[in-house]
Amino acid sequence: MTDLSVASFLFLSGALLAIGLFGILTRRNFILLLIAVEIAMNAAILNFVYFAAFAGTSQGLSGQAIAVVLVGLAATEIAVGLAIVLALNRQRGSINVGEATTLKL
């Protein structure tokens, strides 16, 4: 393969990351934030898969294995996030992070 394709794939995953970041910066709804975080995470996962295919691995963990682990990790994160959402919702009846700004300065 050529470096060009590397660049193109990097562009893809980079775009994914960018989308995730954009979502994190602009959304106020906690659920949407969780989704954005997921997107960002998946950019990394995608990279691992791609690079594994492209470069193979010299030693240590293989890219695919890492990808699988990361999927699991992402799921855990989401679970924790949802737990916090629930508590937050029960506490103040809203999941808008824009309203939770009592701690400041």
Partner: protein
Amino acid sequence: MAVSFGIVGLLGTRLKKLEYGGWIAVGFAAAAMIVGLLVAAAEMLSPGSYTDQSFTWLHLPGSPGTFPNGFSLVMGSLVDPISALMLLVVTVVGFLVMLYSIGYMHHDHGLPRYYAELSLFLAAMTGLVIADNLLEFFLFWELVGVCSYFLIGFYYEKPSAASAAKEAFLVTRIGDVLFLLGIFLYFTVYATAGGGAGWAASGFKFVSGSTPFLAGAMGGNTPLLTVAGLMMLAGAAGKSAQFPLHAWLPDAMEGPTTVSALIHAATMVAAGVYLLVIASLFLGFTPDDRLAIVAVGGFTTFFAATMAVVHPDIKRVIAYSTISQLGYMVLGVGAGFAMVGMYHLFTHAFFKALLFLAAGSVIHAVGTQDLFKMGGLRKPMRVTAIAFAVGALSLSGIPPFAGFFSKDDVLSSVYTAAQSNPAYWPFLILAYATVFLTAYYIFRAWFLAFSGDKSRDPTLPAAHEGPWTMQVPLYVLSALAIVAGVLPFTPSFGSLFSLGGATSVPPTYGTTDLVLSSVSVGLGLGGILLARALWGNGRVYVLAPDSALQPMRTILLERYYIKAGYDWVGLRIVYGGSRVADFFERYVIDGTIHGFERLGTKLSNGLREGQTGLVSDYASYVVAGVIGLLILLLFVAPLIIASLGGP
């Protein structure tokens, strides 16, 4: 021996609180006088001998330039003919003034302080006289200075007194720091001289081992030597109130009259001349120095006398005359005849002290110093009148009074010097003119005070003579004012007028040159007659308001505006400059600090504004940080490292 005198003074100070502390002080002064007389006698019995005892005060480490091996500073006492002579003067006048004070000061408060300070002064003065090296000399020199500071400011409640004291200290201080530089130069000169190392090690004493003074060791005409001499002159000018450092002495009259008599007439102000006298030997003035000295002395003599001509205050008249007479002494030294200056110092001490004490008893009697209020005191105060007259005649240089001989010697010595160096002529002329002025102003004072039949100001109290304690000193001093002139002709006493074992220099020029003598005497008599014509028999000569002399009179009364000039410089230039600097200090240098302080607070609060509490903002900081890091690592850092010449 210095120690013993020190003890005298210190004991005097210890006895502040006692009743009759005055008498105790007088007792110590008497003891001092007896010692002084004994010393002088001993010295006369073995002419030209000197005894020196000293101990090392400090041993200082080296300094590459002049003293690579370090050197010593010593404290000691040197008794040689001239110091014995000076000792004599100091102790005798000191005792008489002490005695006089008993009567004169009896109704003043703060007497313990007065006697303590006066005793301290006597101690310091004796110390100065017998100092055996220049540093010790300087030490006592400063001490007498501070004593005079205290005593001028004795009536410290009077602002004028306080300010006069300050002025005296300050003006002499200017001379002193230059004198200090002179001492450095002197050290350098000697440390680098032949065999100077040993000299330095032994503490730069005037006397070293078996050789008396290092007379002429430094001969020649090196610039260093010239500067050293000039610095000595500066110091002397400060102490002896020579132009341009003269301004303090008239104001010093704010102190008690006794103080004026002792310190500002007979002893301390003469210390300057004494310094020049001994310096002329241990340093050896270069021709340039001598010319400078003569110039200063000659000019001051005339200059001061002119101011005395018009002054209404009896003490200030005498003060100006003191400056003028000191000028004569300086003149004598400058002319190259140190002993002549010494001779005039000797006689002057007595007749000037006499004048002051007489004036003092007048003031004591009538309670004012304004000549134009006095008058007709001849009858009630016969003793004083005669004493004053004696002093005046002596001052005017009328034979056979003491002043005649010494002043005549000064004049003829300058004349002699002028033969070889025409540059001296103008000053000789000034000196002669001064003879006339002197006679005039002193007798103007005498006639104003004593002639006529009643005082001009009826409000004055009825005058009377002071108690015996005040009269005795007058008698004694009058006697001395007459005989002091001829004493030196006796070989034994004359031997005191010698320096460093050099053969006695009998001060006898005048007697040989009748022309010169008669000229000066004639001028003196002329002055007296003029004074009598203008002021005799209670007359008052009033200058017409439109007279051409009027502005001149004001100039003289204003002391040629020199004092005013000093004040202007002090206030406008120095003080003003310091105000400006202070402003700069407060607002420019300090302002920046305030700036930083405010900046810190602003930054802190501004940054905390960023803690909005909104998580999205925090996330955006993170993202911004990431972008920043990417730029830094990918673009900035490589370039920087490359520009630094690679890893």
